[in-house]
């Protein structure tokens, strides 16, 4: 049996996977930033860490969203 393309690449399923991963990443981001602020003793590295972390996270999320739209288009 030849499985047709829409059965394999269902945009809704991939959107669900993407949403779950972004949700987990978002939750962990909050936990990381809380840890750094609470226990980091305000060292220079800790002060810069959230900005760097969130920038890379935003970049990766954008990459994932763009690759999702390329996939379903």
């Amino acid at each position: 049996m030849q499985i047709t393309f829409p059965l394999v690449i269902n945009p809704l399923v991939f959107a669900g996977i993407l949403a779950v991963v972004i949700l987990i990443l978002g939750t962990f981001s909050v936990v990381f930033i809380y840890h750094w602020k609470e226990y980091g003793m305000e060292t220079p590295y800790i002060k810069r860490a959230p900005k760097i972390y969130l920038s890379v996270t935003a970049l990766l999320c954008t990459f994932a969203v763009v690759s999702y739209f390329i996939l379903i288009s």
Binding site: V8, I9, V21, F32, H35, Y53, F63, S67
Partner: protein
Amino acid sequence: MLRLEADEKVLYVARKHWFLFATETFFLAVLALLPSILFFIPAPFFDEVFGVVAIRGHIISLVTFFWSLWLMFLWMLFALFWTNFYLDVWIVTNFRVIDIDQVGLFNRTISAFRFDHIQDASVKVSGLLATIIDFGTVEIRTASEESFKFKGVAHPHQLKEKILAEHHRVHTVA
């Protein structure tokens, strides 16, 4: 948040050696680049394997999508490793040594011992690499038979000297 006592000053902060963190990061970098191998596999191979599910022509976009999710997962791991590396410290103050043991995100133990409780201090540096780039294990035994160990600490001899110098100062003043 760590609270210091009145007139307590931080003299030295010891962390694990950066090399141990770099090793973990290198491992993550290898894992991040691993899926790129798929781009070098010849298209006929994919046609053979995925032909039956008719996703021919979508392989690159599928791989890119899952690669982006994989990168997000590895980025979380990197942040976790860095958190463990950076928040796992020994803080030597003029009153005591504070041992903060960070294992994962939700496992944090803070213990402290005063200099006048120290019975013995030892340093163990094993291996060529540890000797060359200077990392090892510092173990402090206290009067209450407790043992505090810091594995993989950078400049272990320096840490031990700092602790013993303060131990000596406390005994001299007393």
